[in-house]
Amino acid sequence: MREITYTLALNEALRTCMLEDERVVLLGEDIGCYGGIFQVTKGLQAEFGPDRVVDTPISEAGFVGASVGAALTGMRPVTEIMFIDFTTVCMDMIINQMAKMHYMFGGRGKVPMVLRTNIGAGRGTAAQHSQSFHSLFMHTPGLYVAVPSTPYDAKGLLIEAIKNDNPVVFVEHKRLYNTKGPVPEEPYRIPFGRAEVKRFGKDVTVVATHALVLAALEAAEEAAKEGVEVEVIDPRTLTPLDSRTLIDSVKKTGRLIVADEDNKTCGVGAEFAAIIAEEAIDYLKAPILRNCSPDTPVPFSPPLEKAYMFGKDRLLESVRRLMAYA
């Protein structure tokens, strides 16, 4: 199968849906001739015109709210927020409006829209362009939250998100945009709420999101050389969450490592750990280990930012720590 980047996979998903359904429109800052800050919408304005691929003013509450109104009245907007950090200026539209309308209105009206954004540190962009607070959306009832880790998942999950009748926060990852992987040319949908076991193993479960899925697979490769079989689970969507796959895996391995880039306190990792504590504690042979970002803003200075981030080495060390328990 041909290999393309995560960015191109997302671009193909958008293009496919726009060709198929004229209700699909794109809104966002610099998504037109500029192609989007990470080039996800490259070429789409030229192909579909400025009315369907709209360069919005820097006015997030305005255009996210407008996307909600458009979705309520028959459109399927896909709206880009340049960095997840900028969702804070339109949080009312996301949390009070987009997420809650269907419920508050007793099922009257749907909000079929996708809010695309991205997380991840590592680009030297400090505390307001590097955050990873996707757990905030997982915390909010009424939203679906997709977290693709591979180009294949990126395309299939984005097509599903656009076709889904619910509001979806689609969380991409900055360090993944240039990664490559096999992606079919034809359209396909990945159903929400189905985790993928990216590697099977019997000794330790690592549940990882985004770029840490790749780090976990590298760590698993090294651990295998030491005779330890690591199972790597990628939930792919945080809401709905396939907790079954996670629980079953931990029942088999008895050891859980969580790897997610949100802050440790009240982050995605805390939720995974809590699920296992509630549902499978009797199966644990060792404590649960959470690998998350420190509870600090993302620092600017390169050595500090490097220390803030983690990857394969930290996960491998975690595997060894847990294997030390009998």
Partner: protein
């Protein structure tokens, strides 16, 4: 602007329905029958009635926390409204939304809204949607003087003007954001001047004169429908009651009895009824018969609400998502 007898009577009926519905809510609230919050629209009826009379059934409105008047004027059913206020499963929102979240997509009511300024971008989106779908629908966005200081006001006017979207922004300037009077919350006295900053027409309207409101709305809606872009209408009016029914003595902590009395003397409903009788469009008897009909409809709505069941506890978990087919 010449209105037919039928239209005038219909506008009168709408205003009086709002007034009597709200009066009944005030009574039921005081008795403890209606839980939660009730922000009543009494005194401001001409704005909703005048604007919605200028709309087609397929046009859109967005509303506010003080939304009963808007949704009644757009055609909402009193029974479903009252049942919702009672928290019953037969209500507009199955008892999950209450007073501040009444919505009916089939009537173009995109929701009352508990967040001040929350409805403005949503109206812009509905108007944008009409443009994308190549219909000639119009969106009317109701909001208050308080919301005109929110970022969403400015962002929405900018977007609507930039894309010449069919929106009419209707500011109900009742001179108070809860307890803070206009002089304390903004440096201008006419909010309509802000339209100039977004290159759209802005107009001050006597919000207690339903015929002037209607006239201004017809003009603004007509412009919007023809693709000439948005308008900002500032309707100056007054709420007779407190911010909500729990506001002591109808807001006497922050306004005088004399001020309230001055505005009550400008009652928009009496103003129209005097006009109708004076112009011999209706007799006092006809108007009394209308009032009687409305009372009966409200009685029926109250009975319907009172006889309806509360939602079953399991219904709490329904409608979080539109369809669970894709969930695990």
């Amino acid at each position: 602007m010449k209105l037919s007898r039928e239209q005038l009577i219909s506008i009168y009926r709408t205003m009086l329905t709002i007034r009597l519905f709200e009066s009944r809510v005030a009574d039921l609230y005081a008795r403890g029958t209606i839980p939660g919050l009730a922000h009543l629209y009494i005194g401001e009826e001409a704005v909703a009635a005048g604007c919605c009379a200028a709309l087609r059934p397929d046009d859109y409105i967005t509303s506010t926390h003080r939304g009963h008047g808007h949704v009644i004027a757009k055609g909402a059913e009193l029974k479903l409204m009252m049942a919702e206020l009672y928290g019953r499963r037969t209500g507009y929102c199955k008892g999950k939304g209450g007073s501040m979240h009444i919505a009916d997509m089939t009537l173009g009511i995109l929701g009352a809204n508990g967040i001040a300024g929350g409805g403005l971008p949503i109206a812009v989106g509905a108007a944008w949607s009409a443009k994308w779908r190549r219909t000639d629908q119009v969106a009317v966005c109701f909001f208050g003087d308080g919301s005109s200081n929110n970022g969403t006001f400015h962002e929405s006017l900018n977007l609507a003007s930039l894309h010449r979207l069919p929106v009419v922004f209707v500011c109900e300037n009742n001179f108070y954001g809860i307890s803070v009077c206009q002089q304390k919350h903004q440096a201008i006295s006419d909010i309509s001047v802000r339209a100039a900053g977004y290159d759209m027409p802005g107009e001050v309207v006597d919000g207690n004169d339903v015929l002037r409101v209607y006239e201004a709305a017809v003009k603004a809606v007509g412009r919007a429908r023809k693709g000439q872009g948005p308008t900002l209408l500032e309707c100056k009016t007054y709420r007779w009651r407190g911010h909500h029914e729990g506001d002591p003595n109808q807001g006497e902590r922050y306004r005088t009895k004399e001020e309230i009395a001055t505005w009550m003397a400008k009652c928009p409903i009496q103003r129209l009824s005097r006009e109708l009788i004076h112009q011999k469009i209706a007799t006092r008897k006809t108007l009394e018969a209308i009032e009687q009909e409305i009372h009966e409809a409200i009685d029926a709505a109250v009975a319907y609400a009172a006889q309806s069941d509360f939602p079953a506890l399991g219904e709490m978990y329904e409608d979080v998502y539109a369809s669970e087919v894709n969930s695990k």
